[in-house]
């Protein structure tokens, strides 16, 4: 079917486009892997009391970190640039269905998420400090890849309000502090109490808790509450993005 073909081709070229940009690949794909080498490989042999090895734990949290990065950057920066510098307008003069533009970016973010998770899995296995069963990897993929949707929506909201030059800075200002405060770099239970409280309001924390839950390292809370939090957050981000979209249309058609 032609519509399907357009969406797939758009996704293929979206993937190729960003894959060839070192400024995208290095921070979003390599940083989670490098952090994992520093903390997961070097300190991963320690067993968390009553839970898994640290090396296993960190696969889930750095996996969450990676998924968030590709989604936020893939949408936030590229939508802001392509919208602000005229490329999206060129596309809108064609019969391209607008859904193809967004679906392609989502598929791109999900493919990169899978690559990051495979990389973490391999590093854990090779170092011997973070060996997880294939089943655990598949479970992580099954929760983290759909989890990307929340952060694609957040990126979209940034992309519709940020200028083409400021988007990358804004995304970093969200990405780095949120990742730290959500316990994605250093396990949440090591962080001071106030930060643990802040984390309860951050989508990164809730996605990481789902990921930790499927590898048996969760804090024992209800999975459903995390899922509901992410659905509500996604809805809010999409509403903000839609307001930005309407604002753009208003400028054009008003």
């Amino acid at each position: 079917m032609n519509m399907l073909r357009i969406h797939l081709l758009e996704a293929k070229y979206e993937f190729l486009k960003v894959m060839r940009v070192p400024g995208f690949v290095v921070p979003t794909v390599l940083f989670p892997l490098i952090f994992y080498v520093f903390f997961g490989v070097a300190l991963g042999h320690q067993r968390i009391p009553g839970s898994v090895m640290l090396g296993q734990y960190l696969i889930a949290t750095y996996g969450t970190f990676g998924v968030i990065g590709v989604s936020l950057f893939g949408f936030g920066v590229y939508v802001a640039v392509e919208r602000g510098q005229g490329w999206l307008q060129v596309k809108r003069t064609t019969p391209m269905p607008i859904s193809a533009y967004f679906v392609a970016k989502m598929i791109m973010a999900m493919l990169f998420s899978a690559i990051i998770l495979l990389g973490l899995f391999a590093l854990g296995a090779v170092s011997g400090n973070g060996v997880i069963p294939i089943m655990a990897l598949l479970k992580l993929m099954a929760v983290l890849i759909p989890g990307a949707i929340t952060f694609c929506a957040a990126g979209l909201a940034v992309g519709y309000f940020a200028g083409p030059n400021s988007a990358s800075g804004i995304v970093n200002l969200i990405y780095i502090p949120m990742s730290f405060l959500s316990g994605l770099w250093i396990p949440i239970w090591v962080l001071p109490r106030p930060i643990q409280t802040i984390a309860l309001f951050l989508p990164g924390f809730h996605l990481s808790q789902i990921a930790l839950g499927v590898i048996g390292a969760g804090r024992g809370g209800s999975m459903l509450s995390h899922v509901i939090f992410l659905i509500v957050a996604t809805t809010i981000f999409l509403a903000i993005a839609y307001a930005g979209y309407r604002r753009d249309e208003g400028k054009m058609y008003g």
Partner: protein
């Protein structure tokens, strides 16, 4: 007969477009693109050319008046499939190859041209595998032209396609555009080069400060713009020069006198006969700005 020759491909009827800061970009503009013709919308920067293009592409809606493409809303999906556009774009994804850009855009259209044909028609042979970011300015414009034609559109809208190009690159793109006219397509091209309108257009519409101020064949428009500017050193006074036949204006420019005229040859001959010591003669074609001024002041009289 195919209906592209019976339906007006695109028109603006009494269109006014005001942006939210009360900037009025177009004032009661009516513009028809005739089937099978290249219409040039000629005007200086800020005249409203890009606004007219956006209205016809459904990227903006008129404040009042009507924009129609093939007798329907420009945003109609059927219209999007029949219209190709080349816009002024600040940045195009630079890491995709020429071939990849063309493949993707071709996939959007129901009946695209074969890729080889697009590459030949846009003069891209030999650089298909280069990434967009590696191309020269002229090559980049030709890729954007390829993306505009790859869907085999009946209507092609080109917004300042050769702006910023050197003479050679400009002429190369003209050749590609002419090739498309020869296939019987309808084209609207905006430009601020009179020379470009003259080289390509069947019909020229001149726009200035949001209003259409002249319309006609390139020869008609050139006649308006054919004035020359002369600068000479002479013993004659400004008043004496001003009184000569064919002199439109004469002003004191320091050591020399500046003259505008519709016939530089005749004025120079007369000047030499009156003042054999005439020196430092410079003759310039009057720019489009002067032509616009002449046309607008003519319209006000």
């Amino acid at each position: 007969m195919r209906n592209i020759h019976t339906v007006v491909p695109a028109c603006l009827a009494n269109v006014t477009k005001a942006y939210d800061g009360n900037v009025v970009a177009l004032r009661e503009v009516s513009l028809d693109i005739h089937p099978g013709e290249l219409t040039a919308l000629l005007g200086p920067n800020g005249a409203g050319k890009t606004t007219a293009v956006k209205l016809l592409l459904g990227l903006a809606a008129p404040t009042s008046g009507i924009a129609r493409v093939f007798n329907a809303d420009p945003r109609d999906s059927a219209n999007r499939a029949r219209t190709g556009a080349m816009l002024q774009v600040a940045r195009v994804p630079e890491t995709l190859r020429v071939r990849e850009h063309i493949d993707l855009f071709s996939a959007y259209y129901p009946d695209p041209l074969p890729r080889e044909q697009v590459i030949a028609a846009a003069g891209l042979a030999g650089i298909e595998s280069k990434k967009f970011g590696e191309l020269s300015g002229g090559q980049k414009q030709r890729v954007l032209f390829a993306l505009a034609i790859c869907g085999n559109p009946d209507l092609l809208i080109l917004d300042e396609p050769t702006v910023g190009l050197d003479v050679e690159a400009r002429r190369a793109l003209w050749t590609q555009i002419r090739g498309f006219v020869e296939r019987g397509k309808s084209i609207l091209l905006t430009t601020h080069y009179l020379e470009e309108a003259d080289a390509l257009a069947d019909r020229v519409v001149v726009i200035d400060r949001g209003r259409i101020i002249a319309e006609g064949s390139p020869a008609d428009i050139k006649a308006h713009a054919a004035g020359k500017r002369i600068r000479v050193r002479t013993r004659l006074t400004v008043a004496e020069v001003r009184a000569l036949p064919q002199v439109t204006t004469a002003t004191n420019g320091g050591a020399s006198i500046e003259i505008t005229t519709s016939s530089s040859d005749e004025v120079i001959r007369t000047l030499l006969s009156r003042d054999p010591s005439l020196a430092d003669i410079e003759i310039h074609s009057a720019g489009l700005e002067e032509a616009f001024l002449a046309m607008t002041s003519g319209a006000n009289k």
